[in-house]
């Protein structure tokens, strides 16, 4: 199976989805089929990647000296599997969510969703910088209709902000690409970096690094470039779940993996002294994001700031550069994806079914929606980094990396943030199971009143995954093995 198929399937699926707009069942069947086909196509490449023979496809030259090329290397596979696998779950969830709320413009929604996931897979599997930039930009465009889905003043404003941030970031990447092409560098990603020939040209290297890092930092929501993400929470919740917790923002974090590990490489970065800059921004974002999350009453905003903070876990991990930190950073991409999507799913189920959006309205809701809130509780435990959840493993590696690299202050940052995670999530669980009637109801409802099964089942699956993949981190998807592969390849002396 070639990586091209994994990218082309979701992109092409947009067409039948758009054409079957008048028949909702058919349209959603197309969406689900596309999600399954994409996940299958990505998953089928896993064995090759793990065996050290990643699948490749090269198309025609897109710019002189730079072809559209895909390569299913370990890092790309990890992100592609995460995005495509969770797309399947999200599609089922979307059907439940959108039908419950009777949202408009659903055809546009499903088509844009398919394009977004296709672009994210393209970002993941891009073999060179030009292809990466191409799909990074397409991702921006494809998600715009999703952000502005409700078409009211707030979402149009959020859409403008979103475009202003991400298009500017895209320009930085394009400028860097043009610069590399003008320098005659073959910008094919290579574990350990491809810029060794420029060693010693400090001005050029710093210029390129500033452009590339700024370009990916926007989507990774590194402060002070983060404010589009909380604004984008006006989108329907499945969008926030898959795109603004997994695909889009992880494309930014993944961009850091590519820039740090595959463009510059640890040796050059250490030589330039660029690591400390990135690490400082990431550490500030990580801490401040968590603190801001504490004060957010709207549930989705709280989760958004939590995402801001967790993306910087990954960015900081790549900047620490110790092998263990890289394992942690890569595995944290998967761990945070699976865990955070559960939380967003729960928030969406509560919004769609009980019409509650604020933490302060959630008193007692756990008795009405026990399955949802149980999943929420599981994911909260996971987010706090308790064993045996996925995030325990990633945080352990990240912390170990900080110690290995003799950067103990960052260990403190990680630990502090773990505590803050618990502090902003656990109270929600406590409130939900308080023995009081839900707001708007006279008495505590004894009977269970759950959201549609199309929403509850997906969120329980992802909550289960957060636990199972913590116990068996290599099960089915090989996330841990991929993370170890990436770390070994990038940080090899």
């Amino acid at each position: 199976m070639s990586p091209l198929i994994a990218v082309a399937v979701p992109m092409a699926a947009a067409v039948p989805i758009l054409l079957s707009g008048r028949r909702p069942n058919l349209r959603e069947a197309w969406s689900l089929a596309a999600a399954l086909a994409t996940a299958g196509a990505v998953w089928s490449m896993l064995s090759g990647t793990l065996a050290g023979e990643p699948a490749e496809s090269v198309l025609f030259e897109l710019a002189p000296g730079a072809a559209i090329a895909f390569r299913a290397d370990a890092a790309g596979m990890l992100f592609a599997m995460l995005a495509s696998g969770l797309w399947v779950v999200t599609t089922v969830y979307s059907i439940g969510y959108m039908r419950t709320l009777e949202e408009g413009n659903q055809t546009r929604y499903y088509a844009a969703f398919a394009l977004s996931v296709g672009s994210a897979v393209g970002v993941a599997l891009a073999a060179n910088l030009v292809t990466f930039v191409l799909f990074y930009e397409l991702l921006t465009l494809a998600t715009y209709p999703l952000v502005t889905h409700h078409q009211d003043a707030a979402s149009i404003r959020a859409g403008r902000k979103y475009l202003a941030y991400t298009l500017t970031a895209g320009l930085a990447l394009i400028a860097a690409t043009a610069w590399l092409l003008a320098l005659g560098v073959d910008a094919t990603f290579e574990a350990g970096g491809f810029l060794a020939e420029l060693t010693g040209r400090g001005g050029v290297l710093w210029g390129l690094f500033a452009l590339l890092a700024a370009g990916v930092a926007v989507k990774a929501a590194v402060m002070p470039l983060h404010s589009w993400l909380p604004a984008a929470m006006v989108a329907p919740t499945p969008v926030s779940a898959l795109l603004h917790a997994v695909a889009v923002v992880k494309a930014g974090a993944f961009g850091f993996v590519r820039v740090m590990g595959y463009v510059f490489g640890p040796a050059l970065l250490a030589d330039m002294g660029a690591l400390h800059v990135v690490a400082a921004f990431a550490a500030v974002t990580l801490t401040v994001g968590s603190i801001l999350a504490l004060g957010m009453d709207p549930l989705k905003q709280r989760l958004a700031y939590s995402t801001v903070s967790h993306l910087s876990y990954i960015v900081l991990g790549t900047a620490i550069l110790a092998p263990a930190a890289w394992v942690g950073a890569l595995f944290h991409m998967a761990a945070h994806g699976v865990t955070k999507i559960t939380l967003f799913f729960c928030a969406g189920a509560i919004h769609a079914h009980a019409h509650k959006d604020r933490v302060s309205q959630l008193d007692g809701i756990g008795w009405r929606m026990p399955w949802t809130m149980a999943a929420f509780a599981l994911a909260s435990l996971g987010m706090a980094g308790l064993p045996p959840f996925m995030m325990f493993a990633s945080k352990w590696y990240l912390g170990a990396g900080a110690v290995d690299a003799a950067m103990v202050p960052f260990l403190a940052v990680y630990v502090l943030s773990g505590v803050l995670n618990a502090a902003y999530l656990f109270p929600i669980v406590f409130r939900a199971f308080r023995n009081v009637p839900v707001e708007g109801h006279a008495e505590r409802s004894a009977s269970v009143d759950e959201a549609s099964g199309l929403m509850v089942v997906p969120l329980m699956i992802t909550a289960g995954l957060a636990l199972v993949l913590g116990l068996a981190p290599d099960a089915a998807f090989g996330f841990m093995e991929l993370a170890l592969d990436v770390s070994a390849a990038v940080t090899a002396p």
């Binding site: 897109l62 710019a63 930009e137 394009i174 400028a175």
Partner: protein, 489 residues
């Protein structure tokens, strides 16, 4: 056949202009098919010459058998064949698409309209294929006179816009002529190749410098470079729809081509860039225009005016590419000539389809059109995305090559402005698209009942829109096989 290709590009249009006018008086319905036939023949000759020049190099044609440099010479080389193909092909698509608008707005005498259109195209393509400096002036005036008349057909405000354009356009022509005079008295020749051969000995002469400055000032008016641009928005705004849709994609680009011709053929390599400030001025004015035009477009609410100011901005980018005066930059400028012609034609066709169906030109009254006219707006959106410069559309690659050319010269400021101009474009395009897609049509508004226009209007717009994608994906062969060899030393 082959040695006659240069004249075959012009001849169908020139003869067609008279035939169409006369036949149109006799049988009004015959005007349109005859005009299409003439433009089609010219487009076929252009494509044939593009193939021929790529295969065997430039084709030279001595008009009337008088050998150059005494006689007038027509030359089709890689650059002119490329521009001629773009101009003729886009003109063919636009004319096809605007037939219904012409019927509605031009009414009873289509012969006069199509005659003037063919005359304008004669002038534009004449500028492209001629190898004679004075002949450029003649064709410039032919196309200008036809354009004044065409704009004037809009009536009302268009009349005064046409008159103002006439004054400033003729002034530009006179400046160009004066510049040619300086060169002629310095070299004793009007043939471009011959001028190029004689100039290196007398480059110190202030007369040559004066000639260059006047030629570029004159062409600058026709190219609508800031600050010589002010005739353009009114002219585009008030002219009849088919005229603007035809003029906007190609007219200013041909003047820009004439500038590029001065760099490539007439003046010795490096002279304009190193010994004179012409190239620097062009670069600065072009980049300034790209920013100013984009900002001005953002301040408009009439779709035609937005697109007009956007043209000023995009032509600024082309001028900047010419002013960079490197082979890569020239190739980038030529690529953008093509890209902009295709995008702008698609945008204007979509805009006028809206006007045709709803009568609206104000973007505030276009709410809900995304639903009412989905295919029209698809064409508009794709072209707009290309204008912003998102990969893999052709507009992205224009900007990439321009930025790359700037960086290769060590002028990173150029790359910066080129890329930031994309953000400005995004700003005004998002303003339009938000209204079209994200606002619901007001009840009872004309937008609510609109539908896509008939297929013969819609298809050319969609062809042009998809061309922005195809040309973007095929940019490497176009640039490396056609343009770089064509502008190379």
């Amino acid at each position: 056949m082959t040695p006659h290709l240069p004249i075959l590009i012009i001849l169908p249009l020139l003869l067609g202009a008279f035939v169409v006018t006369l036949c149109g008086l006799w049988r009004p319905r015959s005007a349109f098919p005859l005009a299409i036939l003439a433009v089609g023949a010219s487009a076929a000759a252009s494509i044939a010459s593009l193939v021929e020049t790529a295969r065997a190099g430039a084709v030279r044609y001595a008009l009337g058998g008088w050998a150059p440099p005494v006689g007038i010479e027509y030359v089709v080389d890689g650059v002119s064949a490329f521009v001629a193909t773009v101009v003729a092909a886009v003109a063919l698509l636009v004319l096809t698409a605007t037939r219904r608008m012409a019927d509605r707005e031009m009414g009873d005498r289509p012969g006069l309209f199509y005659g003037a259109v063919l005359m304008m195209l004669t002038g534009l393509l004449g500028i492209v294929v001629t190898g004679d400096l004075f002949n450029v002036f003649v064709f410039l005036e032919i196309s200008s006179l036809a354009t004044y008349a065409l704009i004037f057909m809009g009536g009302g405000r268009a009349m005064i816009a046409a008159f103002r354009y006439l004054i400033v356009g003729t002034l530009g022509g006179a400046l160009y002529l004066l510049g040619v005079g300086y060169l002629y008295f310095s070299t004793g020749t009007l043939n471009m190749a011959d001028t190029a051969a004689r100039l290196p000995e007398i480059l110190d002469s202030p007369a040559v410098l004066a000639g260059a400055a006047l030629i570029f000032a004159g062409l600058g008016v026709k190219t609508a470079l800031v600050p010589l641009h002010w005739w353009l928005p009114d002219a585009y705004n008030y002219a009849p729809s088919p005229v603007t849709a035809l003029m906007a994609p190609i007219a200013t680009k041909v003047a820009a081509y004439a500038m590029l011709r001065m760099f490539l053929t007439v003046f010795p390599a490096g002279y304009l860039a190193e010994a004179t400030p012409v190239a620097t001025v062009l670069l600065v004015v072009g980049l300034g225009g790209a920013v100013a035009g984009g900002a001005a477009a953002f301040a408009q609410s009439d779709l035609r005016r937005i697109l007009a100011y956007s043209s000023i901005a995009q032509v600024g980018l082309i001028a900047a590419g010419i002013g960079l005066a490197s082979p890569l930059a020239a190739a980038a400028a030529l690529f953008h000539v093509m890209t902009h012609a295709v995008m702008k034609a698609a945008l204007f066709l979509a805009a006028y389809s809206v006007r045709y169906r709803t009568g609206e030109v104000d973007i505030d009254r276009m709410a809900g059109l995304g639903r009412a006219m989905p295919w029209t707006m698809l064409a508009f959106t794709v072209a707009a995305v290309s204008m912003v410069g998102v990969p893999p559309t052709a507009g992205f690659f224009s900007k990439l090559y321009l930025a790359q050319a700037g960086l290769a010269e060590g002028l990173w400021g150029v790359a910066l402005v080129v890329l930031v101009s994309g953000l400005l474009t995004a700003a005004y395009m998002v303003r339009i698209l938000e209204r079209v897609y994200l606002r619901d049509a007001p009840d009872g508004g004309s937008a609510a009942e609109a539908a896509d226009p008939p297929a013969d209007m819609l298809a050319p717009a969609l062809v042009l829109a998809s061309a922005t994608l195809v040309l973007g994906l095929a940019n490497v062969p176009i640039v490396t096989r056609l343009l770089v060899p064509a502008v190379g030393p």
